[in-house]
Symmetry: D2
Subunit: 335 residues, 4 copies
Amino acid sequence: MFSFMNKKHLYPALALVALGLTAGIATRSSAARQSVGVSPWGPKDEIGRLNLMTPDSRERVLKRLSGGAVYDLSVEYFIGMPSWQAAGDPPYQMWMTHTPHGDHVADSMRVGSEKSSHVSYSGAAISMYTHMGTHIDALNHFGLDGKIYNGFAAAEHLGDRGWKVTGAEKIPPIVARGVLIDLPRAKGVPMLPDGYRVTRQDLQAALARQHTSLQRGDVVLVRTGRMQVYENAQAYMKNPPGMGLEAAKFLVEEGGAMIVGADNLSFEAFPSELEGNYVPVHTYLLAQQGVPILELVQLEELARDSVYEFAFLGGSLKLRGSDAAPIRPLALPLR
Amino acid sequence: MFSFMNKKHLYPALALVALGLTAGIATRSSAARQSVGVSPWGPKDEIGRLNLMTPDSRERVLKRLSGGAVYDLSVEYFIGMPSWQAAGDPPYQMWMTHTPHGDHVADSMRVGSEKSSHVSYSGAAISMYTHMGTHIDALNHFGLDGKIYNGFAAAEHLGDRGWKVTGAEKIPPIVARGVLIDLPRAKGVPMLPDGYRVTRQDLQAALARQHTSLQRGDVVLVRTGRMQVYENAQAYMKNPPGMGLEAAKFLVEEGGAMIVGADNLSFEAFPSELEGNYVPVHTYLLAQQGVPILELVQLEELARDSVYEFAFLGGSLKLRGSDAAPIRPLALPLR
Amino acid sequence: MFSFMNKKHLYPALALVALGLTAGIATRSSAARQSVGVSPWGPKDEIGRLNLMTPDSRERVLKRLSGGAVYDLSVEYFIGMPSWQAAGDPPYQMWMTHTPHGDHVADSMRVGSEKSSHVSYSGAAISMYTHMGTHIDALNHFGLDGKIYNGFAAAEHLGDRGWKVTGAEKIPPIVARGVLIDLPRAKGVPMLPDGYRVTRQDLQAALARQHTSLQRGDVVLVRTGRMQVYENAQAYMKNPPGMGLEAAKFLVEEGGAMIVGADNLSFEAFPSELEGNYVPVHTYLLAQQGVPILELVQLEELARDSVYEFAFLGGSLKLRGSDAAPIRPLALPLR
Amino acid sequence: MFSFMNKKHLYPALALVALGLTAGIATRSSAARQSVGVSPWGPKDEIGRLNLMTPDSRERVLKRLSGGAVYDLSVEYFIGMPSWQAAGDPPYQMWMTHTPHGDHVADSMRVGSEKSSHVSYSGAAISMYTHMGTHIDALNHFGLDGKIYNGFAAAEHLGDRGWKVTGAEKIPPIVARGVLIDLPRAKGVPMLPDGYRVTRQDLQAALARQHTSLQRGDVVLVRTGRMQVYENAQAYMKNPPGMGLEAAKFLVEEGGAMIVGADNLSFEAFPSELEGNYVPVHTYLLAQQGVPILELVQLEELARDSVYEFAFLGGSLKLRGSDAAPIRPLALPLR
């Protein structure tokens, strides 16, 4: 049913077999035996399944572009925005370093009273945890037993200012087929319920309803509907729905996804289904399969217009050594 | 010679006339009489010439896409990167809030020793001035006499956490024709000299050499060659070449540019050519013409491959109320 | 009963009269007519009642020191500590910029692997709102109608990086008689109830029970008992008890306090008693009377040992232009 | 000549012997054999020589207080202040989160236009490396081979948010005899020359000239004169004079210092005298001897008034887990 079975999408062929084996081993393991994946793209590989993106794959999607509509898949950053602070991470901050009048009083440019009064300078600074707003997780975000995807050890590659490998700056520009899986629409509800754990069947049913097939190399975005309450941080963050482990496996191993994402805070459902691992979907995707995760993706407009297939274009900020980076992706309709 | 003369690109026609008048008034004025521009798109307009972007304009460029190549126009963020700190603005900082071993010792997730040892959590935070790395200036960045483009007054619209109008979150996704003007190539030098002030003639000569015409609504990116020394912050920042005021006027008033940009730190050349204004190119573009500015754009690869015309695609971070935002734009070749 | 009546403490005499008048005017005014106080120490005065501190006043208290006991009046700073974030202010953050192993991997000192392995470097950075932990409010923290104490106008004296007058760097080292007023002890409760508004009578009764008299120039610290739950930020911050306006006036106008303080988050009780002013105790103390406020003072040990009178010694950080600064004051017993 | 020889100051006697041995071992070792010191105060000790401070030691100094003069030993914090950024640490930042007018526009308190206009709210936030301005280094700041003073291992005790042992919050209030050693005065120069490495003989000569003796438990502050150019960060920081290793050993092992400090950026002279260790004075003091270091101490006024002996009083901020903390110490003259 899915393109995973369609050999023409299997590229590179050898890699696929290896990936399948890796995945198989990983997912059959008990928690105690979980270990990070080995990249089929070689021991130096730092980007995992983003290797599925090639000039050919990009051309295939770009040649199908249709019309001039553009969908903005990102949310706004503002003080008080949703952010995960339970483990002490900083909330979003934005402050003015220059304002027209304040800069005139301070004369920070040392140009004197007349010029500082005539020229009205505004400047702002920000600080944030990298997992805020619409963003992509780099492969180093979660690992197992001190190692990350492809066996890179923190003890060797993690300095005080970030990872020397697999940092967000290694994530290439993304141009790929995007797919929206609209779960609330399929279930006939405005939003998935609090704490709902999405199953493989949920995804299959929604895809069938939409008449959408997944293809190898897709950016697959799952809508839970949570984004409707994004402006209310407490409502957005409290006990969100998310993916179960089997759902994530379905997207990658059967669907062939290159990147997965959703409109909620953390993609996966909590609490963990797996003994001994508090974020099993993250470690499965990032550390075992080499699949980056998009979080807090704005999917409401795509859903409103029933756009289930599109070109996904975007570039995440190249934050050297970082475990994630903000991104403002665009969706362009296909014919 | 340029599309400014080509009426079919003039859209909306009325706006053009108004823009021309506005520009005329502004540029004939002495410094003492400089004042902000009035938007031809109405008193509520917050995005200036970005209004030139329409479904039609986007479709025109998208239908000309050719092949699967993609150019990454952004630089990396790293500690020690170039940044303008002379007026006290903060340099880029990135730090780890979670590391595999450190999080195990701290047990920030309160999962106990076994789980915190098995799951290897990496998390980072950043802080930065918004004018670092590849970024776009919003229209509020520079104004005149306490007002910004379209007459919005700081006293009324600027709160402690940013502008209530024209903030970076108002900048739409950008899909437009992009043009590279390669000045070093035209002049037969590897890089423009220190402090060089680019003239109208420089731009015209380079366009002629490239056989490139500007069109209304373009994103026009000027290469000075400075990006070759980006990794060395002191070399990159010291006395850079930049645009003169007439060069900027040429791009907008004759070339019809929607957005202008360059590969240097501040687009314009210093010191100012205009008595009483220390950043006349910025105030001309942002405050008088409503033209956003892209700075620190990575243009080396486009230049290497002689790609002078392309689709420019990108979305800047939607930092509410901000005067600028990082962006990682992509360039896709056209046929 | 209180030293306010004892003329020998009135210094300078002229100032007192002026202060009394100022206070009288201010407190008889309706909310609509509230305005900032004029300093009896002259139009250039930036420290208000801290002028009461003189070599003589310091000598008087220092010569009464007794023994070698020392009380630490400050709390710890830690991630998750109580902090007022409802208006978007940043919580306390602390992060490592250097760790022994991480610095070895990063070699931030560029000394090579051997040296970076031998020398184990730890370094941390912090960020915080200035009103966190034990701190003192500078007089500019709250004003009225755009002015602060002594008539300094924000429009003239407030630059983007702080006040040019009355900043925390102007606060001198504090050496003065300190007095603890232990309200829970007087009331026979472990802690004042949630939201309790302290009255003039409460203070008088507690002072009587303690056999303590206030003297002109005192640092008066009021114990509510809240500090017992400081480590639990939610418990500490939720609906705290605080001073009513009459209680504050009593301390200053009858008691003669130079500085007032308490062990709670914001000194005053909320909601406001005064129409049109959401922080009337703050504006009364800071803007009208020129009295700095100490908040989050650790008073449990003094209370445990029934030390109601002591030498208060401390220096707040000299944060130029700031509206507050952290301080770790010491209390030394007197004979 | 020095109090080290005066047995009545040796307390506890047993500890001294142990300290001597520790020091002896450490300083006779080659670089390759350097290791951290073992505390004579037991395996749980986290404060090293601060244990020398007792009720008796405090009483001895407090009973000698004379008069009401107070010296402020700290510098101001301001944007552009001296700070060591060569290894990527953040400079001092201070910004406004609330200003009277900006808060009125933003209405961050949600009190409406009238109240936000009447009440004028100023609030600031800061961020800084902990080694800026007048500060004290905690014992964990520098260790050897992954361990700090008293053998605590980073692998076991250092979490992502700081050390679980020996953090700045463990530093007690400091009340001790302070001694100023005025080197420029002794040498008849306004300031020690750039890069000058202070010797044991320099200290001895200056003490003799001053007729000052060191005593066990002193806070010994060495003046180089650099503080005269503190406001000019580049002048202050460039190639400063500092202590040589033998000078540091003299202060501790012969002088009996509890804390050492100076008016320069880093106390010690660079480059290192010791093969294989780029900060041998820091590791000697902090990691081997358990002696905290005060840096950037303002000593100009003490020197001006020839105050060589005084009561040193101060409390550093209790930054949990930190390797240093700001302090604003006071010096009070003794009789």
